[in-house]
């Protein structure tokens, strides 16, 4: 019985994960191209996607390495981008906290935006699903998503080594970041946080070691949270 439900959840997850390939394959390819154009070799670029497996943080690290920021600042800023993963972990724990330890290891490693987005919605629709089916669904989503990320990164890295420098790829990174941010500006609080981040980062550009960006990010998070509170009180 549990074997059967696990399989059902698994195949449902696979079906729901597949449409994300339209986004992930171009995005992974872009990371491969950008990272190799920035000076990383193919092995380093692929290792980023396998070891870190988080697009926005990988792009952030490459951008800061290009600016020659100190190692600690690169790590702190890229990890700040990934802080949302702690939120994912907290939100999934009521559903997946009962899984075996080796499963929790894999669940944690594969905790990407797509796996969280699909699973958290599904678990709320199906609170009665047995643990085996919930775990099956999660890994079902991962099955198309993770290999697509690795392979498209590799394809992009191989491609990037052959692309001439004159293509203005210095600007690929800013375009990718803006493209990531703009659809995420869902509320006034998100817009306020983004504007604070821009203004503070420009004003603090003189601060050494790219530390101004971390300060700007902290300010922007506080502004976002405060605007959200203020809007809740008003409604």
């Amino acid at each position: 019985m549990t074997e059967a439900t696990r399989k059902e959840g698994f195949w449902l997850g696979v079906r729901h994960g597949l449409p994300f390939l339209f986004l992930l394959i171009p995005f992974g390819t872009l990371f491969g191209v950008v990272a190799t154009e920035a000076g990383l070799d193919v092995v380093e670029t692929l290792a980023f996607s396998i070891v870190v497996i988080a697009g926005a943080a990988q792009f952030t690290a490459v951008a800061l390495m290009q600016e020659n920021a100190p190692v600690l600042i690169v790590l702190a800023t890229s990890l700040a981008v990934n802080l949302r993963m702690a939120m994912y972990s907290a939100a999934l724990t009521p559903h997946l906290g009962g899984a075996r330890n080796w499963q929790k290891f894999l669940i944690a490693y594969f905790m990407v935006d797509q796996a969280f987005a699909l699973s958290s919605v599904k678990y709320e629709q199906k609170p009665d699903w047995p643990l085996a089916e919930k775990v099956g669904y999660y890994f079902g989503v991962i099955i198309p998503v993770a290999p697509a990320w690795y392979l498209s990164t590799l394809a992009g890295a191989l491609l990037g080594e052959t692309i001439p420098e004159a293509l203005a790829l210095d600007f690929a990174l800013p375009i990718v970041f803006l493209a990531l941010i703009a659809p995420a500006l869902r509320t006034a609080a998100h817009v306020a946080a983004a504007l604070t981040s821009v203004v503070a980062a420009l004003a603090l550009a003189f601060v050494p070691f790219s530390l101004g960006l971390l300060i700007a990010a902290a300010l922007a998070m506080i502004v976002g949270a405060q605007v959200e509170l203020w809007q809740e009180r008003r409604s």
Binding site: L79, V81, I175, P183
Partner: protein
């Protein structure tokens, strides 16, 4: 251009991987079912939108490729990317519109 020694690049890869894994593993493994306080969640919601705009702002206004001089093609591409992304809610549509603007203007303006 990244001119770092290989060991430093690997330090970033391993450090970022380990840190990300710990954040993903944290609640599942150690904290369990206890809920995060609402004020923490409220701040975590804005992490990505707080870091990324500040990261790109200097590169948009003062691109290294033009020696830090504002460049009309790059500025226009940035604006188009934001507008396309905001209205389409689609990352790849925004990338394609932005890149199209950049190359179109670079070709037109020589």
């Amino acid at each position: 251009m990244i001119t770092w020694p290989a060991w430093q690049i690997w330090l970033i890869i391993v450090g970022l991987g380990a840190g990300s894994f710990l954040m993903r593993f944290s609640f599942l493994a150690f904290v369990g079912d206890r809920e995060l306080p609402p004020w923490v969640l409220r701040h975590l919601r804005y992490t990505a939108v707080a870091v990324l705009p500040g990261l790109v702002a200097p590169a948009v206004l003062w691109p290294a490729a033009t020696g830090g001089e504002p460049d009309p093609a790059r500025l226009a591409a940035a604006v188009v990317t934001c507008v396309a992304g905001y209205f389409s809610r689609n990352v790849m549509v925004a990338v394609i519109c932005g890149a199209g603007t950049l190359y179109g203007l670079m070709w037109l303006l020589g």
